[in-house]
């Protein structure tokens, strides 16, 4: 009976006639574990589509209710916690896997003839995926999400001539408001996914058309004139059907990946919602999701004159640069051992990413508003003047940026032994005039306050003797 039903379906749909041959297309037999990242990216996308649809059935894309609906999804809705978590880690997985997949393809130069367009369509999809990650973060619509919209609008406003129009398009007006979230929602659930579907469709079609590339061999450079014939001939001899001889690795790896997503969703849960986006409650520290931290670090380190160029230029040049890779060279060696520059690019890129990410996470780029008063062990003085100076160092904001024996922010230079480096006159000048990244305090400190602060700072020396400051204070 079941067999009959299947036969009917198979006959009318053409599964065995049309789909099976595609699944069974012959692939090089050496396509081993290296090749599992692309299919895993696709699998992560499927996770996103399914969990995303589920979330959209409860999520309310309106400025007034979005936050509440997310609180509901996270805390009350059946399995809401899990679904939101899966959507979040699925997004991370998708970004990571897409980048890993691309790195592998780049290292093996699989983008060379005749697969130039495979690479190009992949680059487009990659940027759309990053757009998904970014718009998704805004849909959280907590204070962090709302302020991220502002940052996005400000960045867009830097585009010459039409910047203001772009950012008003994003905001849906002149301020963040009712229209803003609806726009991001529509972009996140209709426009970008549509582009991904189209891009992935093209990408898959191209894979079928040109076949999966072989593992690069040092003695097998790509010669476009003869490549297709050679490839066919080799496949004929050594190829295996994709389904199931090669596909099982993809399935195993995807299973693992889904298990990891699920595990993270169960044990770590979705990202915590920040405070509601109340514009009067501005004690928020907008921070992007981790895969953008490196960019955050770059933005904070740039000299202002370069900033606009980098904010706009880096993504554009990055996109163009990646896009045209196969046009720069589509023949010749594929083996990494013969392409040292490619290897170097990957190593330098990966190192920069890791270093900047750690930097962006660790280094507080901003004043630390939560510093505690200096405890007595750090002040190390019974002199009331010195103690008062220590209090002022916090009150006047010095500690927001400067560290004293482990207390305070790290935006500015550490002051733990500043007494060894600068004398009274120099300290007074620095505090009064400010400097490269330090405000001038001339107008906000009285002479007395300045004296007390300097007295305290002069006790910060390498040879802490408990009452070092006492004689210096007068």
């Amino acid at each position: 009976m079941l067999g009959k039903i299947w036969n009917w379906i198979d006959d009318r749909s053409g599964f065995s006639d049309v789909v099976m041959p595609m699944l069974e297309h012959v692939v090089p037999r050496d396509a081993r574990w290296w090749y599992v990242f692309g299919s895993a990216t696709l699998c992560a996308f499927i996770v996103q589509v399914l969990t995303g649809i589920a979330l959209a059935m409860v999520y309310v894309p309106g400025g007034d209710a979005a936050y509440e609906s997310l609180v509901y999804i996270t805390h009350d809705a059946t399995l809401g916690y899990l679904v939101r978590g899966m959507h979040y880690y699925g997004a991370t997985a998708m970004v990571v896997l897409a980048v890993v997949h691309m790195t592998q393809v780049f290292l093996h130069a699989s983008y060379k003839y005749p697969r130039e367009m495979n690479w190009m369509s992949g680059v487009v999809v990659l940027f759309v995926v990053l757009g998904m990650a970014f718009t998704g973060q805004l849909l959280r619509w907590d204070a962090n999400g709302v302020w991220s919209v502002m940052v996005a609008a400000e960045m867009a406003a830097r585009v010459p001539f039409i910047g203001a129009y772009i950012s008003q398009f994003l905001l849906g007006g002149e301020t963040v408001g009712g229209s803003t979230l609806s726009r991001f929602f529509a972009i996140h659930v209709f426009i970008l996914p549509g582009l991904i579907f189209a891009g992935v469709g093209l990408h898959l079609w191209l894979i079928l058309r040109h076949g999966i590339s072989e593992m690069p061999k040092a003695d097998q450079p790509v010669v476009p004139e003869t490549y297709k014939e050679d490839y066919e001939a080799r496949l004929e001899k050594t190829g295996v059907p994709f389904w199931p001889i090669a596909a099982w690795r993809d399935v195993v790896f995807s299973t693992l990946m889904v298990a990891v997503i699920m595990g993270c969703a169960i044990f770590a849960g979705p990202p915590t919602l920040g405070p509601a986006p109340d514009p009067a409650n501005i004690h928020t520290n907008p921070m992007p999701d981790w895969y953008f931290w490196w960019y955050f670090a770059v933005l904070s380190m740039l000299p202002p004159e370069l900033e606009t160029y980098i904010i706009l230029g880096m993504p554009v040049l990055g996109a163009i640069g990646l896009f045209i890779v196969p046009l720069l060279s589509n023949r010749g060696n594929r083996a990494p051992s013969k392409r040292p520059w490619a290897l170097a690019t990957v190593i330098v890129g990966a190192t920069a990413f890791v270093v900047l990410t750690i930097y962006g996470y660790r280094k507080p780029w901003s004043p630390d508003f939560d510093v505690k008063p200096l405890p007595p062990e750090v002040v190390r003085s019974k002199d009331p003047g010195i103690q008062h100076g220590a209090v002022l160092v916090r009150e006047k904001g010095c500690l927001y940026c400067h560290d004293v024996d482990g207390f305070g922010g790290h935006r500015g230079p550490e002051l733990s032994v500043i007494g060894d480096r600068l004398d009274r006159g120099e300290l007074v000048i620095r505090i009064n005039n400010g400097g490269y990244n330090m405000p001038s305090f001339a107008s906000s400190l009285t002479a007395e306050e300045l004296r007390l602060i300097v007295d305290f700072l002069l006790t910060r020396t390498d040879h802490p003797d408990t009452d070092a400051g006492e004689d210096k204070s007068d």
Binding site: A153, E174, T175, S300
Partner: protein
């Protein structure tokens, strides 16, 4: 004309095909335009609309202490009921003298993050990339290229009023 003129009259068939191709493409383009243009206009409208800015009441004059900077919130010019709290804007308001107020935008001029007023240090500080402003809004340190934007403030009938304004985009030449 008969339905199968191939044998007799190949060139007129070619004409016919050419005509039908053009007809299909032309009509498809027309359909495309008709179904997308209204939507495009609808979506782009806010980009070109200039909402009229309005004065919003903040509070009684005597609520504010001379010399103090406090955070205030008020509704934007366009106040859509479904915007919830996001219809609100915030500002830092300082009573300078008996009748004089200054209001600073909370948006950092670097990339728009919300600046905090640190009263003891008399500085506005931005949590994002370390932008710092003096009490008059001038840049003290960090990446912001311009001083904090200001709102218009006035006192009428014992109430402090603030005029709504667009978000101060660093490069917005139209505001």
């Amino acid at each position: 004309m008969s339905d199968s003129p191939e044998a007799k009259c190949p060139s007129s068939d070619e004409d016919r095909r050419g005509f039908l191709t053009k007809l299909c493409l032309g009509l498809s383009a027309l359909i495309g335009a008709v179904i997308t243009l209204p939507g495009v206009g609808f979506v782009l409208a806010p980009v070109f609309a200039r909402p009229k800015q309005v004065w919003r009441k903040l509070g009684k004059l005597d609520q504010y202490e001379i010399g103090k900077t406090v955070s205030v919130e008020f509704k934007d010019a366009v106040d859509q009921p479904w915007a919830g709290v996001t219809t609100l804007s915030g500002a830092w308001l300082r009573r300078v003298s008996e009748n004089e107020f200054i209001a600073f935008s909370i948006n950092c001029r670097h990339l728009g993050c919300p600046v905090n007023w640190v009263a003891d240090a008399s500085l506005f500080m931005c949590p994002c990339h370390g932008g710092v402003y003096y009490e008059d809004g001038e840049v003290a340190a960090g990446p912001p290229p311009e001083p904090l934007a200001r709102y218009q403030v006035r006192v009428t009938d014992g109430f402090v009023e603030i005029e709504t304004a667009a978000v101060p985009l660093t490069t917005n030449d139209r505001v």
